[in-house]
């Protein structure tokens, strides 16, 4: 038995996967930390020079407009808004917004049209975030609260509301999710149905003009969706687009007629669209939206001569804020638009106000960068230092200028030029600051993504190949492991040194992935070298090749079935509809797989009694019976299959909902008991939960009893006997207290608070104790030593056990002896004279330990979920058991007459096992979206919250990936179970052959001890099983990763694909590490069994 090399090899494979995930993630997931600080009126960024501002309700800078109307036309591309009079044959989307053109040409000082550059991802929600916070939205804006989509950062709407502006909103209901309860008045319309062109727009048009005329507003936002939906449905090049744009044109025309002189009109597109009408990515057509500004008072000093400059979207935030006289949102990195601040004021020169605006803006950005670099370290330090230098020089010269101006006003000759120089400096600073932020927050790295995919794919291939090569190759991993580690480490060291030498900063992810790739290559090279060497030595190359060709063909046939199902599963990752419906898709595939396995067994005639010949040519010698009769097992198998299907069907009861599926209702079991109003239902469901808890314990104990693992007095068995009920009592106490907090128990409030903390901690402590005991002494074997001094337990052996080979010979002998004595004891026979040592439950010692650990984990995970989920865990246990039984039966039926095939776990079972883990991810009430995470889990046993982030992350992670953990730890059971099934059948055979007394002894079941008989095969089988499981998981991960790469410009990427990738990747990490734990546990049991046998032999009297 090779324990350490197997574990190390698996760990190496896992690390390869992790490196791939890591490098992909660094290229795909854009991350930024949200700051919670808010700007306020009282922050004096630039000391006000003028005494007594005439408008008391202005902050930071005097306001220019009292009111503003912001019209957001979703997906208004710049080309849509431009008007080209020379174009006589316009496309449906060209030359439709005449009103803009008319205003620009007739009133050049009042109106202007800009290209409005969006930062990718160009999806509406991210763009709204950008337009209101002035920051770059990324996939994960790490903030205090994941649970809702609401914007936590300081933003324009918040600032408006805080400064007493009345904000009225109408249109897309995405804003409701982002700014809940912020609006003075709002008219939301559903944005969900992309096919619906008119509901939102007509709704807005109904309310727009009456609201404008009503005057009860300071800021009015109208978000039209028609153009965008039209693009999705028909594409831009369609008459419907023309109609929609003409409608917008009319809307603007009538809106402008209703505006007052103190009102600013801003018409923006949040993003553009491609020629097919999609958006989300970063192509020129998607990011170039339109920005149109108009006011009835003159706004611009100069006539526009050439093409207007491109305005980045974030620039709108500081511009609007200063124009309205409110503070700029704290995290804004936009730059004010110089044009708008260059008006001709009577008492103030234009450059002065421009410079002031820039000064305020720059100080705000500088403050933000300062706070951000304290909170996070993802901005490069040198760049920050450089920016700091730019800023301080500009600020100093400004201060100097201002003080000079105050001392002797009018004395500076070239004030205008100096101010303009100032403005230019600050502009430079602001643009560089934005560029630095963009570079680290909002850019995909396709190269890294592809590299990550390549590493994951290569590792999958490696898993597949190694798990399929015959056992002889298992010597490989031992001799190769050292060189792998050496190669990987040396490359990592070299790279880190090189990076440190060249740029003084090291990137861990990059180094890890390089190391992974190199060590993988070195592995492949060495395998190849070794193989060719061996081939040349053995000389029987041709023979082997022809044999392996045949074997390979056989293998392919074996593969087809599970691989097709797996392929379907992977394909489903590429469609957002299938991902949304994944909770139904996986059970469907799982059911199909189980039925197909049975159909395959039937097809190959394994279910029918062997007497009836189904193999091609009729056997002449003994006449085959004309009636095929089914084996008894096949009926059993059919029953198992039916109950499995029912389990899978029933597991759908526990699903929670995602908001993409209309009319879906989350499972009632997900709501905690404390929120139930009706006392009777509460009691009833509490009873149900406790009953299911009791059922779990009963099932586990009866399983252990059935295999005789509950007789010993070892600490572990004692723990199962007494600790399990104790855990159940604590858990049910906890449920009772947490669900029954009522007002009438005010006196007991303190006790309840203590109990709410104490109960879960007691459970945790008991579970930890149980795990410790299981690791310390995993033997659950009851030994009854009734031998007499003269008799040896081993008859065949005469001598001193001095070598490994002797021991190996001895062990089965002992075991058979024990079994025999056990048999005779059970049958109540008194002729006990030969019995020596009886070991109860030795045949299931491996799986007993695993089952005990699994049940401990179930208790812990169950406590983290809401009470109703205990039913789901009961179902998980039952379904896992049925799946194992099915697998055991199938293996037994399809195994060739020799037991060698028991060591190979078929792909069907491994795939089904992996699917079941995904199925129960959904059936424990989870969904792969961030708002669906069960955050309450962090407060089980910690009512007042936590000091650090580590513990809550662990608790929430354990809650989310509960089924991944359980199924991965239980994965070795797939190898062990077929051996367990051996006992009953052999017993039957024994009964048949009772008359031949001599053969009885040989037929006695050896069960899992068969594994011990060939330890090399055992370790190889464990390795192969683990690799197969990793392959199945890895292929799913690979599909998910590929989908994220290919569809990174998809509309749903931030809503569906990216979260799915995140959950899949984390799930993989959790699963693989749990798998390692499971394998390690089996090896620990193996260790314990070895020492136990050694002790037994040494204790034997000579």
């Amino acid at each position: 038995m090779r324990r350490v090399p197997v574990l190390l090899f698996l760990a190496w494979i896992c690390l390869l996967f992790y490196a791939g995930i890591g490098i992909f993630m660094s290229g795909f997931l854009l991350m930024r930390i949200e700051l919670s600080q808010q700007s306020s009126c009282l922050d004096e960024l630039v000391p006000r020079t003028r005494a007594g501002g005439e408008t008391s309700d202005s902050c930071w800078m005097d306001r220019r407009f009292r009111r503003v109307v912001i019209v957001v036309i979703d997906a208004l591309r710049y080309e849509f808004a431009r008007f080209d009079p020379k174009n006589l044959n316009p496309k449906p989307y060209e030359n439709r917004l005449q009103v803009i053109h008319q205003l620009i040409s007739s009133q050049p000082h009042h109106a202007r049209l800009y290209p409005f550059k969006a930062d990718p991802p160009t999806t509406t929600m991210q763009r709204i975030k950008g337009i209101t916070t002035g920051s770059l939205p990324t996939f994960i804006d790490v903030s205090s609260n994941f649970a809702s989509y609401a914007i936590q950062e300081d933003n324009l709407i918040d600032q408006l509301v805080q400064n007493g502006k009345r904000v009225v909103f109408m249109g897309d209901d995405t804003w409701d999710g982002l700014f809940p309860q912020k609006f003075f008045k709002s008219y939301f319309f559903p944005s969900f149905n992309v096919k619906d062109l008119h509901t939102v727009d007509n709704g807005i048009l109904r309310h727009l003009l009456p609201t404008v005329d009503g005057g009860e507003w300071d800021v009015l936002i109208a978000h039209f969706l028609g153009v965008d939906h039209c693009g999705h449905k028909h594409g831009p090049d369609h008459p419907e687009t023309a109609k929609k744009l003409s409608q917008m044109n009319e809307m603007m025309r009538s809106l402008i007629e209703h505006l007052h002189n103190d009102t600013l009109l801003v018409v923006i597109g949040d993003h553009g669209m491609t020629d097919t009408g999609d958006h989300g990515g970063d192509t020129e057509k998607e990011v170039t939206a339109a920005l149109f500004i108009y006011s009835k008072t003159a706004l611009f000093r100069d006539r526009l001569l050439e093409e207007p400059e491109v305005v980045p979207q974030v620039n709108l935030v500081p511009t609007l804020a200063l124009l309205l006289g409110i503070p700029i949102p704290y995290s804004n990195i936009g730059e004010v638009m110089a044009d708008v601040f260059s008006w001709d004021d009577t008492h103030r020169d234009s450059s002065g106000s421009q410079a002031l605006a820039y000064q305020i803006n720059a100080r705000q950005v500088n403050r933000f960068l300062h706070s951000y670099s304290q909170a996070a370290e993802d901005l490069p330090v040198e760049k920050l230092r450089h920016l700091e230098g730019l800023f301080s020089s500009a600020a100093d010269s400004y201060n100097q200028l201002m003080s000079e101006m105050q001392e002797k006003p009018g004395s500076i000759l070239n004030l205008e030029a100096l101010l303009q120089q100032q403005t230019r400096d600050l502009q430079h600073y602001l643009r560089e600051a934005r560029a630095v932020c963009t570079a680290s927050w909002a850019r995909f790295h396709p190269l890294r993504m592809v590299a990550g995919i390549a590493i994951i794919a290569a590792t999958c291939l490696l898993c597949c190949v190694i798990s399929e090569v015959p056992m002889e190759l298992e010597i490989l991993y031992r001799s190769l492991l050292l060189s792998l580690v050496v190669w990987g480490m040396s490359v990592a060291a070299f790279l880190s040194f090189w990076q440190w030498a060249t740029s003084k900063e090291t990137e861990l992810v990059l180094i890890c992935s390089w190391a992974a790739a190199i060590s993988q290559l070195s592995f492949l090279w060495q395998v190849w070298k070794m193989r060719s060497k061996r081939d040349s030595v053995s000389g029987s190359r041709w023979l082997r090749r022809s044999l392996s060709m045949k074997q390979r063909l056989l293998m392919v046939v074996k593969w087809v079935l599970p691989m097709t199902i797996l392929f379907f599963r992977c394909c489903a990752m590429f469609s957002d509809s299938f991902l949304v419906a994944e909770a139904r898709v996986v059970p469907f595939l799982l059911q199909s797989l189980s039925i197909l396995v049975l159909a395959k067994l039937h097809w190959s005639g394994k279910l029918i009694m062997p007497g009836w010949a189904t193999s091609g040519l009729p056997v002449e010698s003994h006449k085959p019976s004309p009636i095929p009769t089914y084996r008894r097992e096949s009926l059993h198998l059919l029953g198992l299959l039916m109950s499995f299907q029912f389990c899978v069907l029933f597991s759908a009861v526990f699903h929670s909902c995602r908001d993409e599926i209309p009319g879906c209702e989350s499972s009632p079991f997900l709501t905690p008991l404390s929120s139930l109003q009706n006392v009777q239902t509460k009691n009833l469901s509490y009873g149900l939960c406790v009953a299911s808890l009791v059922a779990i314990i009963y099932l586990i104990r009866s399983w252990l009893r059935h295999y005789g693992n509950l007789n010993s007095s070892s600490p572990l068995v004692l723990f199962v006997r007494w600790g399990f009920p104790l855990i159940a009592v604590w858990i049910s106490c906890y449920w009772a207290i947490s669900s029954g907090i009522e007002d009438n128990m005010a006196k007991l409030q303190e006790i309840i608070q203590v109990a709410l903390v104490a109960c879960p901690r007691a459970v945790c402590g008991l579970v930890a104790l149980g795990l410790f005991v299981a690791l310390w002494n995993p033997m659950t074997v009851f030994v009854q030593d009734s031998r007499e001094s003269t008799e040896h337990i081993v008859t065949a052996y005469q001598g001193i056990p001095n070598s490994e080979a002797d021991l190996r010979h001895v062990i089965p002998q002992i075991y058979r002896k024990m079994q025999k004595s056990l048999k005779s004891r059970l049958s109540g026979a008194d002729e006990d004279d030969k019995a020596t040592v009886a070991a109860y439950g030795l045949g299931s010692v491996y799986s007993a330990a695993l089952v005990i650990v699994l049940s401990l984990l179930i208790f812990f995970l169950l406590m983290l979920h809401s009470e109703g989920m205990s039913l789901a865990f009961l179902l998980l246990l039952v379904e896992g058991f049925i799946l194992l039984q099915l697998h055991g039966c199938a293996v037994k039926l399809s195994a060739a007459s020799d037991g060698s095939e028991h060591f190979l776990v078929p792909w069907d079972s491994v795939t089904a096992w992996a699917f079941a883990s995904t199925q129960f991810f959904y059936s424990t009430g989870h969904q792969p979206i961030l708002p669906a995470i069960h955050w309450n889990a962090a407060f089980v046993g910690f009512v007042d919250g936590h000091g650090s982030n580590l513990l809550p992350a662990f608790l929430v992670g354990a809650n989310t990936f509960a089924s991944h953990i359980l199924f991965a730890v239980g994965c070795p059971l797939l190898l062990l179970w077929p051996f367990l099934g051996e006992s009953s059948s052999s017993r039957k055979r024994k009964a048949k052959k009772d008359w031949r007394d001599g053969e009885v002894e040989e037929e006695l079941p050896v069960m899992e001890m068969r594994l011990r008989e060939c330890p090399e095969k055992f370790s190889a089988a464990l390795l192969q099983l683990a690799l197969k499981y990793l392959f199945v998981l890895g292929v799913q991960l690979l599909a998910c990763v590929c989908a994220a790469l290919i569809l990174r410009r998809h509309l749903m990427v931030w809503k569906v694909f990216a979260p799915k990738f995140l959950f899949e990747a984390l799930g993989f990490v959790v699963s693989s590490s749990s798998l390692l734990i499971g394998i390690a546990l089996v090896m620990r049991v193996d260790c314990a069994v070895s020492t136990w046998f050694k002790k037994l032999i040494l204790a034997q009297p000579r």
Binding site: K195, S575, D576, S577, F578, V580, A581, R584, V585, P587, F588, Q591, S592, H602, W603, S604, G605, I608, T614, S615, G616, L617, P618, P626, I627, P628, Y630, Q645, F646, V648, L649, A652
Partner: protein, 235 residues
């Protein structure tokens, strides 16, 4: 049809027999396909507002009935299964009743399986049941026609090397094709295309029908292609 070319020795005759058999099977299959096509086309002239999508349930009934009729007629004409020894009227009636019972049981079984696979349990029971009936027509009814009530023969046919005549092979192919087609038909249901044929059970019954038709077409071709390899042992 009643004698199988077993150890006759005469290869020539064997081949001719086989070709004739394949031809007769192909013609039966052709009529089956024709009945399916007609069931989609003809009722439009007879019934008002008939369309395969709009009045799907009507089409399901018509299609099942017509396919069943063709199969039964073919089995009466060709008699591919060896007729039982006793051939009195009462035996015929009991056989017929038993067949009906088997058919009903298979409908219920298919219904259960479909529900287990995630079809709605309480809503649209009629749709589910008619779909199950269609599947039974494509699979069980053919078995009944070709193999009779002999369940052992059913077990034999659906296992490896169990086919004893080209009819058995064709049975294998069409049954598997229609079930796989129905299975594949479930795939488009979750997609958000909002097409009328994505409604339960239309896509599945279409899948089953297309699978069945594909099976009917491929079975003679495949058997013809592999007629050298196919050696059916005689009873």
């Amino acid at each position: 049809m009643k004698t199988y070319p077993g150890e006759l020795g005469d290869i020539q005759e064997k081949d001719i027999m086989k070709d004739i058999e394949i031809m007769s099977m192909a013609s039966v299959h052709f009529f089956c396909v024709l009945s399916i096509i007609l069931s989609a086309v003809v009722p439009a002239f007879l019934l008002e507002k008939f369309s395969v999508l709009g009045t799907h349930l009507t089409w399901l009934c018509i299609c099942s009935v017509s396919v069943a009729a063709v199969n039964i007629i073919a089995s009466v004409v060709l008699k591919p299964n060896p007729s039982p020894k006793r051939n009195s009227l009462s035996h015929k009636v009991t056989r017929f009743l038993k067949s009906c019972l088997y058919f009903m049981i298979s409908c219920l079984l298919f219904h259960t399986i479909v529900v287990l696979y995630g079809a709605p349990l309480l809503e649209s029971v009629l749709e589910t049941f008619l779909f199950a009936a269609l599947l039974s027509t494509f699979t069980t009814l053919r078995c009944l026609c070709l193999l009779g009530l002999n369940l052992q023969a059913w077990i034999r046919v659906f296992s490896k090397n169990g086919a004893m005549s080209i009819w058995d092979s064709s049975l294998q192919i069409t049954t598997v094709c229609s079930i796989v087609g129905a299975w594949l038909g479930a795939f488009p249901i979750p997609l958000d295309w909002d097409r009328p044929w994505q409604v339960w059970p239309i896509s599945c019954s279409f899948g089953a029908t297309f699978g069945y038709v594909a099976g009917l077409i491929t079975a003679p071709l495949w058997i013809y292609w592999n007629r050298k390899q196919l050696t059916y042992k005689s009873k």
